[in-house]
């Protein structure tokens, strides 16, 4: 099958039942999307499928045939996405391992809902951050929502 990732199409050799996460990481060497739990709870594996945030650790790659997959590598060519700039401005990451997942989930939310309520933000961002960067994250997201990044 063929996979459309970050605007480019590539043929895939992996078994079609292989979760998208492992096709991205081990076949395409796109390692920005991370493995955290394998049961879709932690969100480290979040990508976008046709713009919708999707956890990829249990999603068979066959399910995204013909769809547009966006990974953290495709969020912007140069860290220029408003969330990426806000993340640096507010010094959000610590270890950084969960951050790709958060950015993909947050960017999908803001693309669909530019002025989300706090409840909507909490609902969309159920990812786990073990380093507890939540305070800086809230500030960064609000900065983007308010257009002041």
């Amino acid at each position: 099958m063929e996979l459309n990732v970050n605007g480019k199409t590539a043929p895939i050799q992996s078994d079609p039942a292989t979760p998208l996460l492992w096709v991205l990481r081990d076949e395409l060497n796109l390692v920005g999307t991370k493995f955290g739990c394998g049961i879709m709870v932690c969100g480290a594996c979040t990508v976008q499928v046709d713009g919708v945030a999707q956890r990829s650790c249990r999603l068979p790659v066959s399910a995204v045939a013909g769809k547009k997959v966006t990974t953290i590598e495709g969020l912007s060519p140069d860290r220029s996405h408003a969330l990426q700039r806000a993340w640096v401005k507010h010094q959000v990451p610590q270890c950084g391992y969960c951050q790709s997942g958060f950015l993909m989930a947050a960017s999908a939310l803001l693309a669909a809902t530019p002025k989300p309520t706090l409840a909507q933000i909490h609902g969309a961002l159920s990812n786990i951050c073990r380093c507890g960067t939540y305070d800086a994250m809230r500030a960064a997201i609000m900065d983007v929502v308010e257009g002041t990044v």
């Binding site: 493995f35 739990c37 950084g96």
Partner: protein, 767 residues
């Protein structure tokens, strides 16, 4: 002044203080000394003359940084990055001394060399109060520091990194600054004294300017001597804005490389299954229906593994393997049995005395307060599961992983690799969380064994989350009994505590150095329960070591992670018995010890946190919920943190922490932005444990499997955390761990204020 500590453990007779110091320091730093003594013949002497090897176009300045012809300054950090910001902080110390522009700074991992030994971390293991500058304490520190520098342990832990490097780094940078000025003065033909540096540009009143790149080579050729660092009053960045962390931009676009992201030509992936029962082994394994993607299998002593072209294929295949395990002696272990043994030890009333003052046996009158507290085993649950990449060619072994002790890996991997340490190369990647887990050699040793089955092939072994959760080295479960007798003012005239649990240090040293602690005292068991600055005229702190076989290890803030809960919950219970406000009670106990500098610092952070929280004013009501505030304070790793937590408890007893106000005294916050981030990090980490962290043992195995049954705090449930920095100008303290200990008692105390329920166990469950 404390009276001498006595040890009644072994023979029932008191031992002298000096001997006790030797015992404790030997046990606690046993790893350093044991490993060092074992490897001293490897000539692991601290390499004071070490200089970095400059690349093309670079000039080296001692062990700490290079400058290239374009003015890029590449600092090296001997401490490993796990989110705490140490690598960037090292660069910022250099940038400050040189008056360089942040944009010029880069930082990489230091080479693995004894020049970068972390004596500080192991010195903290000595059984003296940080503020104790008496002859015995200082003498012990001096001797041990010399020994440890000779041994040269290169490690990151104990919130010790900045304290460990700041002296040498600042001195080297200050010395290099002089060389840059000298070289510029020569080139410009002007006196050195007429030159200024600003943002990496050296300028003269005449208008002449030079960049660092223009003079780096000439400066690098001059002899580098340690210089005098800038006084704090002259800091531009440190203590003010800090320097934006160099590592963060790459963490926003997926380019930051973690151990699990290593990709080498020809690399294969391995998945592993360990015997579910602690200490159990493989009896037999049958691998079935090997697909083309699977290239090999490994039957280890206590694990089986499969190697494939992708991790997923390897994991599927190893999961399907039919394994018969020899469960072994620990198959009957369970949580209830473990706590029963702890209780028996407490009932027996023996163990080691770690602190003793006055005579607690003497009968006193007054109100009696008693409590027993318990905490469970906890998993580290780093976001990045355990992994290690190894390429073993037969004559050389290359290792890539996130880790907290590369030099230890280089030494200790020799056995698994079947090669001398000189043939072992360790590449350290940034860690997706460390928390003390990534000191351990198990992941590395197994990865080496697996890779040796495919000589020359790089094999990345990844643990599933289930393996990671069930084969951790856990924060010990512990049981603590506290009793106090209060005087007419409600103050404890007598305070005794007895804690039971295993020794982390004994187990860790056993794993690392092959020698157990032999029952020797381990300060980490009671750290945070000793040397309290409250006025407690008669006191005893006792610990009974009970090791039931559950693997235990260093978990962020170590003993403090439970002693703060025990102590600060008990202080609140004493305050309640006395009918006094918890803040006023603590301040009174500190005031009664007012000559003690630490007591003053405790009072300062308590008052700052209380003020920020509006202590004494009504807690904002939440419809349908009971609300309350709680306070706690703890010193750990030379920093003092007070926290006030506000909670709202619903009708079902679900506790939500809405706001936390922290005040931190780390002496001087070099980077206030990162300092706040680290304290917040500790709060969320500790809160996750306090509200839901519980590892149960059933039939010798861990019951919990993944984040569905070992829940983590998420954004929706995370409180707003405010942090105030209180710079006392005391000696520098750490920041990675000190935010953790106070949150559990602050929340427990808030829950009591809100509901009247006394919390005696973690995680907090009200129904």
């Amino acid at each position: 002044m404390n009276q001498p500590v006595t040890d009644t453990a072994v023979s029932g007779k008191p031992k002298s203080l000096a001997r006790r110091v030797l015992l404790i320091s030997a046990a606690v730093v046993g790893g350093g000394l044991a490993v060092g003594a074992g490897y001293i013949q490897h000539k692991a002497l601290r390499n004071k003359a070490y200089t970095l090897k400059p690349g093309p176009g670079e000039a080296a300045f001692g062990a700490w940084f290079t400058i290239d012809t374009s003015g890029i300054i590449t600092a090296v950090s001997p401490h490993q990055e796990m989110g705490q910001g140490i690598m960037s902080l090292v660069a910022s110390l250099i940038a400050e001394e040189l008056d360089a522009a942040p944009a010029q700074m880069r930082v990489v991992q230091a080479p693995v060399n004894t020049a970068y030994s972390n004596a500080t971390m192991l010195l903290d293991g000595l059984p003296f109060r940080p503020a104790d500058k008496g002859w015995l304490a200082e003498g012990a520190r001096f001797t041990l520091r010399r020994l440890l520098e000779a041994v040269g342990i290169n490690a990151t832990g104990g919130s010790s990194s900045v304290r460990n490097v700041i002296g040498p780094v600042q001195q080297a940078a200050a010395g290099a600054r002089q060389l840059l000025l000298q070289a510029a003065a020569t080139q410009m033909a002007v006196p050195v004294a007429e030159l200024r540096i600003n943002n990496g540009i050296i300028s003269h009143a005449s208008g002449k300017t030079l960049g660092f790149g223009d003079v780096a080579a000439a400066a690098g050729a001059l002899p580098l001597l340690p210089g005098t660092p800038k006084p704090r009053e002259q800091y531009r960045m440190l203590g003010k804005t800090g320097m934006p962390r160099i590592d963060l931009p790459a963490k926003t676009d997926g380019t930051a490389q973690f151990g699990i992201d290593v990709r080498l030509p020809g690399q294969l992936y391995a998945a592993i299954r360990h015997c579910p029962v602690f200490g159990g082994t493989v009896k037999s394994v049958v691998f079935k229906n090997k697909p083309a993607a699977v290239k090999g299998t490994v039957e280890g002593r206590h694990f089986v593994a499969a190697i494939a072209t992708s991790y997923y294929a390897a994991q599927q295949f190893v999961d399907a393997a039919q394994v018969v395990w020899e469960e072994g002696a620990l198959a009957g272990l369970n949580t209830a049995g473990i706590f029963a043994r702890y209780a028996q030890a407490l009932d027996a009333g023996e163990g080691s005395v770690y602190e003793s003052r006055g005579d607690i046996q003497q009968p006193v009158t007054g109100k009696a307060v008693k409590a027993e507290y318990r905490v469970p085993f906890l998993a580290h649950a780093t976001m990045e599961p355990m992994n290690c990449t190894v390429q073993h060619t037969g004559t050389q072994c290359k290792i890539w992983c996130g880790n907290q002790a590369p030099l230890l890996i280089k030494w200790l991997a020799a056995k698994a690799a079947g090669l001398p340490s000189d043939a072992i190369e360790v590449h350290t990647l940034t860690m997706g969380g460390g928390f003390g887990r990534k000191f351990e050699m198990d992941v590395v040793n197994e990865a080496i064994e697996i890779a040796r089955s495919m000589p020359g092939v790089p094999v990345q072994t990844i643990w599933s989350r289930e393996e990671d959760m069930q084969h951790d080295v856990y924060r010990p479960a512990a049981l603590g009994r506290f009793e106090a007798t209060l005087d007419e003012q409600g103050r404890p005239r007598r305070w005794a505590c007895h804690i039971a649990g295993p020794s982390v240090t004994a187990q860790a040293m056993g794993r690392m150095a092959g020698m157990g602690g032999g029952g020797m005292p381990d300060k980490t068991n009671v750290e945070g329960a000793t040397f309290l600055p409250y006025a407690l005229p008669a006191l005893e702190v006792r610990h009974s070591m009970v090791d039931t076989g559950v693997p235990v290890g260093y978990w962020r803030s170590v003993g403090h992670s439970y002693t703060a809960f025990f102590v600060e919950s008990f202080v609140d219970e004493c305050a309640a018995a006395a009918g006094l406000d918890p803040l006023a009670y603590r301040l009174a106990l500190l005031q009664a010890n007012a000559g003690d500098a630490t007591a003053q610092r405790f009072a300062a952070v308590l008052q700052a946190a209380a003020k920020a929280a509006g202590w004494g004013t009504p807690v904002a009501p939440v419809p349908g919920q009971r609300v309350g505030r709680g306070i706690a304070v703890a010193e750990s790793f030379h920093s003092i943190v007070a926290q006030v937590a506000e909670v709202a408890v619903d009708a079902q007893g679900v506790v939500k922490v809405t706001r936390v106000f922290c005040a931190v005294d780390c002496g001087f916050a070099l980077d206030p932005v990162n300092a706040r981030a680290q304290i917040r990090s500790g709060v969320h980490f500790g809160l996750t444990a306090a509200l839901g962290g519980q590892i149960d043992i059933e039939q010798g195995r861990v019951k919990q499997t993944n984040f569905n049954d070992y829940p983590m705090l998420t954004l929706a449930h995370a409180p707003v955390v405010e942090v105030e920095i209180v710079n006392s100008r005391a000696d520098l303290g750490g920041l990675g761990e000190p935010g953790v200990p106070p949150i559990a008692p602050a929340v427990a105390n808030a829950v009591r204020a809100a509901t009247g329920v006394v919390v005696r166990a973690l995680p907090i469950k009200l129904n």
